[in-house]
Symmetry: C2
Amino acid sequence: MEFTKRLAAFRERMRREKLSAFALLHLSNLRYLTGFTGSAGLLVVQPEEAHFYTDGRYREQARLEVQGAQIHIAGPAGLYAEAAHQLARVRRIGVEAPTLTLAAAAALGGKEWKNRLYPTTGWVEQLRAIKTPDEVARLRQAAQLAASIWPRILREIKPGNRERAIAARIEFELRRSGGDGCSFEPIVATGAHGALPHARASAQELKQGDLVVLDYGVWLEGYASDMTRTAGVGRVPVQAREIYGAVLEAQLAALDTVRPGVPTPVVDGAARRVLRKHKLLRYFVHSTGHGVGLEIHENPRLGQWMRRDQPPPVLEAGNVITIEPGVYLPGWGGVRIEDMVHVTASGAEILTPTPKELLEL
Amino acid sequence: MEFTKRLAAFRERMRREKLSAFALLHLSNLRYLTGFTGSAGLLVVQPEEAHFYTDGRYREQARLEVQGAQIHIAGPAGLYAEAAHQLARVRRIGVEAPTLTLAAAAALGGKEWKNRLYPTTGWVEQLRAIKTPDEVARLRQAAQLAASIWPRILREIKPGNRERAIAARIEFELRRSGGDGCSFEPIVATGAHGALPHARASAQELKQGDLVVLDYGVWLEGYASDMTRTAGVGRVPVQAREIYGAVLEAQLAALDTVRPGVPTPVVDGAARRVLRKHKLLRYFVHSTGHGVGLEIHENPRLGQWMRRDQPPPVLEAGNVITIEPGVYLPGWGGVRIEDMVHVTASGAEILTPTPKELLEL
């Protein structure tokens, strides 16, 4: 039922843009439109029919999962060759520019691919950015599952324990609680490692007085959660407490702007303003947040807006986003605080129930 | 030192193919050429200089890791815009066709991208397929680490335990043993799930008399391991034992062909011949194996060869590959047995020390 509606909305967009065929490859888009959860597939959408191509490994799975499209199992020539056959007479084929590679383009569009393929960006992703109540429920459940293990993770924050051991514990507890695995590799970054926003958990030991950044999420029925907390390994120095306070103030200021109709740079700007006041803006090296759903990073993006030729994205009811300002001082460490937030008709529902005051454990 | 050699080999290929600039994006290729382990980067190689672009999140990490290239931190306009500047006067830019998307191509090559970009396939991957002794040592260590947890995983194979709980245990034990996480999501597929070669671990309970397929690997210092075993939950029916025997015979037959100079379809064909004899060939729905290294699937591929315009790949000393025939009966289940193998000057070194006789636990 949901899949029928989604495919209809996509076909409506095709009709508006006068496309009689579209070849989709991006896996989370395939999942959104057909229900397929495997790792190799191609969906050809035409006004009156849809064809789903996968390989022999997924014969059974496609039969169980795919809705709204006829299933084809590609031979050794591959998915593209198989779909190219179906598309042989189509002059203009819509494709996903951020996913389709030059190699795939040539296999799909043949010698004339440069003229036949019509690059588009974000058609399905735009539909995906507005979650149905059912999707919000899954995201809420994923966020709650991730938060539910937090007390057990806190017990691991003690001098001498290793970043890697804590990451292993996070993975294990998420699975044990019914999650389908980590939605990204958990970040456990202590001391100076905290200055690497995407640090990998290492053999580094936690030391008394360090801050430790913990950023993790879980997959649940295809949907991702994402949260970050920063905690002290015992009492932390005054400077750490001050920086923590500034980041929390920035995070709350950004949260406070969230409601439908607000341009995303306004949310980002609210966090930046607070950090500028604390003379920490130059240490905030990423954007304030991003959508979450079938992917860990999706629309809308909440950052500075540099393009003059287009207006920035605006928040809409049904968006589910993160708000996650951070400060990273090379050689010293970092602080990041991240919540998942559902944009409602009237404002914001914070999906991450975990407290945000600084814990000194 | 290693990085210098690799970049020199890559430049030599550029010289042979008369390219004065190459823009690389594929992350494992960046890691191979520069040492960078982050998730966003772009490397421009020119005859006398090399430029590495990343974003603010990786400023520190790039400084610590990247060798042989000047580091640039891209602003909000992004990596491509930054690199496009450096490449402004280059008429023909080598790019990786299997990685570069249409969107990235346009950002990198500007309006004239269709004429300026020169698509290539597998230049770095071809270098990567021949491992140095140091790389083989890391892969051996990864394979041994993964094998070392096997006895602890066997204890979980009992009626009533869930696929998902076993997958969680695999992840946890791999990390606890010093691994950097799973090299892919562990497959634990019991009963009829075993017929899905890439099944996700589910809430399904193991039942007395079922076969269970376990396929997992670990990351260790950037290198992946990969192994599969199939075990019985207690005594299994005669048919299961017969199919197991056929798959093992096919796996041993394929292993027996491995040595330098052997075309990869010969290895694949050896497995197929055995399964045909047992009337199981139609249930073998994937290829016999693949290279392993900085990626879980890399060159060489060991499958049937359908192209008439090119000879198939040939095994070379220094390849590290998997040998993993399998049989999948819809509605019944599956059997797969997979080892990692190092192609040596004289033959094959099996890197997976785990026994292969059928265990009925």
